[in-house]
């Protein structure tokens, strides 16, 4: 029979080949998950085949597999980036180029990008000769490919080969890059624009001036917004390369034009890259050019641009040259900031609120009290909760400069309003800032004004709030200590054990879960444990099984006599409860606490 035949042949078979054979066969399995799995173990397959067969058989096969699903191709592109050893070391690394070349032309951007990343990686493993013989021709083929996909991939490869080739090849590479910068399709021009800065970095300064600057100027006035906005970032990189005296003539006219571009997306990009730009052009140009440009962005007609600029207010001010920082802020920036505080768009206000507090450290106590404090107070009363939250979350910066007392009168109503906001997500956000606020405001102020809020959240009708409130209590105890806990919150928490609403009774248990650790053995044994044990006879099963879970949780805090004498009998009783879940959790607690 057939089976017997194969058994006979099997006499010579090699068992160690089997797992590899499965992996190879699964490279073409119908199930994409199995193919993916095999591709991820490509190095295992290559090791088993040896360098020779990997080069002559495996790589040609992989070169043709470009029909596969994106995730498989992505994994393949990644694997090939670290395959040099498996094909026989740097001497043979060029064998990896064909499969990566075909991956660099697929339509899926993530796959192409990964192929380019791997190509960049292995380019470093080429000897200078191999680079010119194998790698550069590949870059040229991609750069002059019929489809834009291959030309976009080429854009990312120029900068890695340029520094290591002869001057003739360098000239060719520059020519190819120039051609791609004026490609017919916007996709290629975008790719070129996004790599312009990186390419400029590896070029000789003379060529930066003679080649890159005209390309930058052209891309920055491209008819497509999407190309122009990428030129902004390139401009930043180029500016860092040029000596100060050339900046004004070569880069600034274009950047000025970008800051006033007709398209809001380009202006947005300028605002978004403003700090980098500021560092690149240095203090003098910052004073003469960037300050007015920044003022305009803060007053832009498009809210997206204003929001992006507002986000940069603090960093921009911080990086202003020290000698004129205060004057510039007070006379140029602060007036714009004042207008933004009452902007019509809430995203703008909220962006500003997240950084405005940072100005106080820069301006110092007197200016903060006189100029910034009124703005904080306005924002604390803003109709949009996000604005108020952003102010509150950054209180620590102000605290260092002027102390929080100045603010506390306005702070309190703002906090109370947020704490009672109709949207539970807003309430959740403010709870998360409570420990921070408590730390800033001090224990007395907290006890007096905020403690009742924290307790009120424990009976909120949304579970997420009650849960966060429990966690908040734990953090407060960490801050104020066990004694404070015993005097202020423990009695209130334990009082809820007698509430008629079972959800509130459960909250007591959840609080004990959270607090027992930070409160320590004495408070837990003396005050909490009796309450928990008493609740084991609750008529609601959910409460009873939470008693079991609670006992399991606080068990490690208790000493063994309490465990044996008090906890064990209660758990044993719960283990015979008629409710299945109660039994389950009781038995689990007994086994975890080793009380059996």
């Amino acid at each position: 029979t057939k089976l017997d035949d194969s058994k006979m042949a099997g006499a010579e078979g090699d068992d160690s080949l089997y797992p590899i054979a499965v992996l190879i066969d699964e490279l073409r399995n119908e199930d994409v998950q199995l193919r993916l799995n095999s591709i991820k173990k490509l190095s295992t397959i290559a090791l088993a085949l040896g360098v020779e067969r990997t080069r002559t058989e495996l790589l040609p096969f992989l070169t043709d597999t470009i029909y596969d699903e994106d995730e498989v191709l992505l994994a393949l592109a990644e694997q090939l980036g670290s395959f040099t050893v498996l094909v026989g070391g740097p001497e043979f690394v060029h064998n990896l180029l064909p499969p990566l070349e075909s991956l660099a032309t697929v339509e899926e951007t993530v796959v192409r990008d990964k192929a380019v990343e791997s190509l960049r990686k292995i380019s470093q493993e080429h000897s200078p000769v191999d680079l010119e013989v194998h790698f550069v021709p590949l870059v040229k083929r991609l750069a002059s490919g019929d489809w834009f996909t291959s030309r976009t991939s080429a854009c990312g490869l120029f900068s890695v080969c340029y520094p290591r080739v002869s001057s003739t090849v360098k000239a060719e590479i520059r020519q190819h890059f120039r051609t791609l910068c004026s490609d017919d399709t916007p996709m290629v021009r975008r790719a070129a624009a996004s790599k312009l800065g990186e390419f400029a970095k590896v070029l000789e300064l003379d060529y930066v001036k003679s080649d890159i600057i005209p390309l930058f100027t052209a891309l920055a006035s491209d008819e497509q917004d999407s190309v122009r906005l990428l030129a902004v970032e390139a401009g930043v990189s180029i500016a860092t390369l040029l000596p100060q005296e050339d900046l004004e003539a070569l880069v600034m006219p274009t950047l000025r034009q970008a800051a006033e571009d007709k398209s809001w997306r380009v202006r947005y990009m300028v605002a978004d890259k403003f700090s980098e730009l500021q560092k690149a052009v240095g203090p003098e140009i910052t004073k003469t050019d960037l300050v007015p440009a920044f003022q305009n962005l803060l007053k832009d007609c498009e809210a997206e641009v204003r929001a992006a600029a507002a986000n940069k207010v603090k960093v921009f001010c911080e990086n202003l040259p020290e000698d004129s920082r205060e004057t510039i802020i007070m006379t140029h920036i602060l007036p714009c900031v004042k207008e933004l505080v009452s902007d019509t768009n809430q995203h703008v206000k909220s962006a500003l609120a997240s950084v405005i507090m940072g100005l106080s450290t820069i301006l110092g106590k007197d200016n903060t009290v006189e100029h910034l404090l009124p703005l904080f107070l306005v924002q604390l009363k803003d109709e949009c909760p996000e604005v108020r939250l952003n102010i509150i979350s950054n209180l620590d910066c102000v605290n260092e400069v002027i102390g929080i007392r100045q603010l506390s009168q306005s702070l309190l109503p703002a906090i109370v309003e947020l704490a009672e906001d109709a949207k539970w997500r807003v309430r959740l956000a403010i709870i998360e800032y409570m420990p921070l606020l408590a730390g800033q405001l001090g224990v007395e102020f907290f006890d007096e004004k905020l403690n009742s809020l924290c307790m009120a959240w424990l009976i909120d009708h949304v579970f997420a709030i009650r849960e966060a409130a429990t966690c908040n209590l734990m953090k407060l105890v960490e801050k104020f200590g066990a004694e404070w806990a015993q005097n202020t919150i423990v009695p209130k928490v334990l009082g809820m054990a007698n509430d008629s609403n079972y959800l509130h009774r459960m909250t007591t248990l959840f609080c004990i879960n959270a607090l027992s650790g930070v409160c320590g053995q004495e408070i837990t044994t003396k005050h909490m444990l009796p309450v928990v044990l008493k609740m084991s006879t609750d008529q609601v099963a959910n409460v009873r099984f939470n008693v079991a879970r609670c006992l399991q949780k606080i068990g490690p805090v208790l000493d063994s006599s309490a465990l044996q004498a008090e906890v064990k009998p209660v758990l044993e009783k719960l283990a015979t409860d008629q409710d299945m879940d109660v039994k389950y959790f009781a038995l689990e607690a007994i086994s975890v606490l080793a009380l059996a």
Binding site: L3, S6, L17, E107, W264
Partner: protein, 460 residues
């Protein structure tokens, strides 16, 4: 079910001269069953040539897309016939049910738009009322062969027979065309999508429904940006809906949308992120003498298309085709009556719902002519320079294959010549809503109910 795959081969006989009542257009191919009994699912709902004209896609109410490819031989011979054959067929959309709103979502393909070609594969966007999908149509002519643990026919080989590892090798095979879904852009439209349009930046596209227009990046399915929202705070105040929208072919920041009130707004995305403020409003003041109950209905824009040059824009309303110069908002530079004789029949057209038909329109590749459909399987072509227009009929029986199509005239009176037909004799159930013009060549494709007609112009 794939009745469009049937082609009626037509013999190219000797072509008679350009006589009186005859056009330079001749029938090239008819696709689909010639049958009076038409299944609902087979009704064509979209026709679109690819950018090179090599492919022609149709969508139907059954959610299917059929793609035809121009034969290589006929492409190289300018005198030859525009022969299109089935290249790929696939199910683009399935019927769905929205459980939250208790609404059925039809699978009907509302629009198809091709993407500019980016590699050897072709890509298109198709949409039904709610969901846009990106499809890849690619060819495969090699397949891997050689397993370690089984034979090519699937029989297992015993593991112990393994003495050496085999790496699969790609071998040539018969050409296979695959259509695979690449992206699904869902959950962004509360109302019915009426238009999709790809931006000239080749990375974004817009989708428009009755009240909103969204901007998508082709690579991201989880987010889109709302760029137009005309939904009033109180829906009772709703007086106008968006009926069609398109991106400018060259300026990536410009798009237009037409409304049910007959106006077209041009928006500049550079000006602001939300384009609720239009930068131009194209609207012709209503002629008070022709005002009637139907005025607003018939002025509703059913299609808007930019010329290839980007200088002009064409709008179709129920009775006319208008061409606007983008530099002049106050009135169109050209107005063509598509079927002015229906003005007296509006009442009955309202009763049989025909007045709500949405006719599409298209430009010739060089913008010198425009085309749109009408009733009785008639379609109209307008030569802009010569100010000449023709009425032609998409018919298998009447137009002898390869011969010049005769031109029709519709007249109101009862006395008529051979090439004339009375208004009362028109068949309103046979209408040509969807038309597409080959981007370069003198080839047009249009859909009657369930048939795709391809016509070709004879060279001079």
């Amino acid at each position: 079910m794939w009745s469009l795959c049937w082609t009626y081969s037509l013999n190219l006989s000797s072509v008679p001269g350009d006589g009186e009542g005859q056009s330079r257009w001749c029938l090239s191919q008819v696709k689909g069953a010639i049958d009076d009994d038409v299944a609902e699912a087979d009704i064509i709902s979209a026709v679109e040539f690819s950018h090179s004209g090599e492919l022609l896609a149709t969508g139907d109410r059954g959610g299917r897309i059929v793609i035809f490819q121009q034969e290589q031989e006929s492409k190289n011979l300018p005198q030859g016939r525009a022969e299109y054959n089935v290249y790929s067929t696939f199910q683009s959309h399935e019927p769905e049910f929205d459980y939250l709103k208790s609404l059925e979502i039809e699978e009907k393909i509302n629009k198809i738009r091709w993407l500019p070609q980016k590699n050897a594969a072709h890509f298109l966007l198709s949409t039904n009322d709610k969901t846009v999908k990106l499809w890849k149509i690619s060819e495969r002519d090699k397949r891997p062969e050689g397993y370690n643990l089984k034979e090519e026919d699937g029989r297992y080989r015993h593991p112990s027979s393994l003495t050496t590892l085999r790496v699969p090798v790609f071998q040539p095979m018969d050409l296979m065309v695959e259509a695979s879904p690449r992206r699904v852009y869902a959950n962004a439209h509360t109302y019915h999508i009426n238009s999709i349009s790809v931006n000239s930046d080749n990375e974004t596209y817009l989708s428009a429904d009755d009240l909103r227009i969204n901007l998508w990046h082709l690579d991201f399915t989880d987010r889109s940006f709302n760029i137009v929202d005309i939904k009033p705070a109180n829906m009772e105040e709703l007086t106008e809906v968006i009926t069609a929208s398109e991106f400018h072919p060259l300026q990536c920041n410009t798009f237009v949308y037409g409304s049910s009130k007959g106006s077209v707004r041009l928006c500049d995305m550079r000006a602001s992120a939300l384009c609720d403020q239009h930068s131009k409003l194209f609207e012709e003041p209503e002629d008070p003498s022709t005002r009637s109950f139907f005025s607003e209905i018939i002025s509703s824009i059913s299609d808007v298309k930019f010329s290839h040059s980007g200088r002009y824009m064409m709008t179709r309303d129920y009775l006319t085709l208008k061409i606007w110069d983008l530099h002049m908002e106050s009135r169109p530079v050209e107005t063509y009556q598509v079927h002015g004789y229906l003005r007296s029949k509006l009442c009955s057209l309202y009763e049989n719902d025909c007045i709500f038909d949405k006719f599409e329109c298209c430009w010739r590749g060089d913008d010198s002519e425009v085309m749109t459909g009408s009733y009785n399987n008639f379609f109209r072509m307008f030569d802009r320079d010569a100010q000449r227009d023709v009425t032609l009929e998409a018919s298998w029986e009447n137009g002898s294959p390869g011969c010049s199509l005769k031109t029709w005239r519709v007249c109101a009176g009862s006395r008529r010549k051979r090439s004339e037909i009375g208004v009362d004799c028109l068949d309103f159930s046979r209408k040509i809503l969807y038309t597409s013009w080959h981007p370069q060549d003198s080839i047009v494709a249009l859909a009657t109910v369930n048939n795709l007609y391809i016509f070709q112009e004879k060279p001079n």
